[in-house]
Amino acid sequence: MNSRLIKLVIQIFLLSIVAMQARAELVIEITQGKQSAIPMAVVPFKWKGLKALPENVAQIVANDLGRSGYFNSLPKTEMLSLPNTEEEVFYRDWELLKQDYLVVGEIKQDSRGGYIINFKLIDVNTRTALMNQKLTGGASSLRDIAHFMSDRIFAALTGLPGAFSTKLVYVTTNRERTKFNLSYADADGAREQNIFSSKQPIISPSWSADGKKIAYASFENGRSEIFIQEIASGKREKIASFKGSNSAPAFSPDGKKMAMVLSRNGNPDVYVMDLATRQLDRITKHYGIDTEPQWMPDGQSLIFTSSRIGKPQIYQVSITEKKPKRITFEGDYNARARITPDGRKMVMVHRNNGRFHIAAQNMKTGVLQILTSETHLDESPSVAPNGSMVVYAASVGDRSILAAVSLDGEVKFRLPSKYGDVREPAWSPLLK
């Protein structure tokens, strides 16, 4: 009797913790999985400690892998057995459940209060362990360890670097648009922190290649000006406040330059600033709108949006030759292009039948594929540093939320916030 009561109390306590956390954070909802996703099971890890663990490591790993679209994580309720070591695995169970891979493990506490995690990645078909690792860390880093595990497992099975240990920055606002926060969170929306707040709009956050700084445009002084903020220290520096608008900052791949849009000469044009000398180099000179510059991976050219033919299309321009070349031809609204790390695909906002969606264009063949359909007013696409997913802002119901779609359009998930509108996501580079 007593022990049952205690269990119940603990359960309620745990539930309330979960509820408390959820209130402050984005919550992932997977809306579409991949047809060809590999079935795998991350079995809950053994833990013999007296207190409940602050994080459910196996669940975080299962969620990470499931969200990637490459894997289908088997829900715990469907598991026939719950092994924690390779010896405990009864392969017939997993064959019956048609699982290709299995992750088992246990968590122990070390003498100083930290955690030791031993885990194995097992191939069900060959009945062999593909990975056997021991990870250690303090209580506050359990979530980091879980994402690190996901990265290792993902890399071992797909050959691609995992992007689960990465971060997102985005802007949250209240409905009345009287308060704006620049927020920083894990790629799954957990551990959100505000790194800058203002009563005036904040737009276009953009990461430095080393993941240590964020540039953005803030209206705190009555018009858009560009700031660079160090994430760790919170130190801010205003780097562009010329007459007119200063916006759309984009760090060059080597971190030495910044592409930006200035209207100091009366019309929005693309410039490149040398960050050390603050020298400006004007890249475009046209009476149309030129905006949203993004560096190609080699740092030699930019892609940008221009209305020079009347409607927005994407152009590419070498920063030395400065002769823009149009690269989108399908539809009458293509804007805010972002390039995948391998330079093969470009994602952008594309209007089709009056609706704004995220589309990907093959840079070699020019073939365009619309990736999103269920969300409305899609904007601000940002590509994951391993090129697997695109996070973007969209309108669902009366709210602005973050959503993500894989580059092949097969996997979709959403990160709706518990409050207000969420906009302008920027996915970090791979972090060391």
Binding site: F219, S224, S247, P268, E292, P312, H376, D398
Partner: protein
């Protein structure tokens, strides 16, 4: 003397209305905003004289009416635009001309033109669109007598909607330029 100045203002307004009505389709089309400026100024000068002559015989009633008309036109401070378009609409012009006249007659008056866009399309493109709308209005005011030094432009893009709805009604109210007087 005062009467004469007023009549002149009225005539100028009428003249400019005539001029802009003729030029409404061509003057601020995207892509050739620079061209119509000179042409517009010439026409304004030309029509101005005619307007004054035509109204020169009108009496005090006309003055009062002109005052009221001017005030009513000045009450309009928000000007709307079509989607992805920076062309000033024909029905905005009378009020914009009234503001131009006011600025021309009051050299210490200062305005900020706030350009806005609806939420459709991308954030930065909309910021640029808002700016170009504000610049369109600025050029129009200058073509009709305001001085460049009296006008400042700023764009808020899609960040400060007038209405929060996600529909045509809200969007049409959000694509706008607001004239805000900093000093009268």
């Amino acid at each position: 003397m005062q009467k004469r100045a007023l009549v002149k203002t009225l005539g100028l307004t009428f003249g400019a209305v005539l001029m802009t009505a003729c030029a409404s389709n061509s003057d601020v089309a995207e892509g050739d905003e620079l061209k119509p400026l000179d042409a517009a100024q010439e026409t304004a000068a030309e029509v101005e004289t005619k307007g004054v002559e035509a109204q020169a015989v009108a009496g005090e009633q006309v003055d009062a009416a002109a005052n009221e008309a001017q005030a009513a036109l000045m009450d309009v401070t928000v000007f709307y635009f079509d989607f992805d378009n920076t062309t000033i609409k024909a029905d905005s012009k009378n009020s914009l001309i009234a503001h131009s006249q006011y600025l021309a007659a009051n050299s210490s008056a200062r305005v900020v033109l706030e350009g806005h866009a609806d939420e459709r399309g991308t954030v930065e493109y909309n910021l640029a669109l808002g700016e170009r709308r504000a610049i369109s209005v600025s050029r129009f005011l200058q073509a009709n007598g305001a001085a460049a030094s009296q006008i400042e432009t700023v764009s808020f893009g899609e960040e400060r909607p007038a209405l929060m709805g996600h529909n045509d009604d809200s969007w049409s109210q959000n694509r706008r330029v607001e004239i805000k007087y900093q000093s009268r």
